[in-house]
């Protein structure tokens, strides 16, 4: 089961690389923001899987909880900031 956790974590990290394509190429800034949000949500899962892989889930689950909340705040702040910026520019 430990190698299954490692394989799943490696699979999700490969999904990071695929999402980074949208973050780098995305035509608008909202594409980049939503790609970054998807990477953040997947990072919570990777943190939990690494915790179970090393047998230290009691520590990593707190890190994942904090990261999940901070990711939401970051994406909402990006949404508010870019809405106001583009409206003033046009």
């Amino acid at each position: 089961m430990s190698s299954f956790f490692l394989a799943l974590a490696v699979f999700i990290v490969l999904l990071f690389v695929a999402s980074l394509y949208r973050v780098a190429v995305g035509p608008t800034v909202f594409d980049r923001a939503i790609g970054a949000g998807l990477i953040g949500t997947n990072a919570v899962l990777v943190l939990l899987l690494i915790g179970f892989f090393y047998g230290r889930a009691d520590m990593f689950v707190d890190l994942a909880l904090t990261y999940g909340m901070l990711n939401f705040i970051g994406v909402v702040a990006l949404a508010k900031y870019f809405e106001r910026g583009q409206k003033e520019a046009s």
């Binding site: 799943l8 949000g37 998807l38 009691d58 046009s90």
Partner: protein, 107 residues
């Protein structure tokens, strides 16, 4: 129980893959937001339920279920906030590039 947890995590990984394919392949920001907002949430929740089942009844499982609740509430909310801000900023909606001259409605 271990096999149930592993199969739940496998199905969740498939949903994560579908969400990532949708983020790359779909033509518009709003359709990409659709892929991220639904498939990503379902995949994350399946993986988290699988981890909690594997761990058993414990404080760690309670915290994992807290993470599940947070992702269940915040991930669609964040996607909706981004799509709303894009729509208010005047990002144009995607229209199909019609190759035919006339369609069935006589236009």
């Amino acid at each position: 129980m271990t096999w149930l947890a592993a199969s739940l995590m496998g199905v969740g990984a498939v949903f994560l893959l579908i969400s990532c394919i949708g983020l790359i392949r779909l033509p518009d920001f709003y359709t990409r937001a659709h892929a991220v907002g639904k498939a990503e949430t379902l995949g994350s929740m399946l993986v988290l339920v699988g981890l909690a089942l594997y761990n058993g009844a414990d404080l760690i499982s309670v915290k994992i279920l807290f993470i599940l609740g947070i992702i269940l509430i915040t991930n669609p909310t964040a996607t909706h906030a981004l799509a709303r801000s894009a729509f208010r900023s005047g990002l144009p909606l995607w229209k199909r590039a019609d190759k035919r001259q006339g369609d069935d409605l006589g236009n």
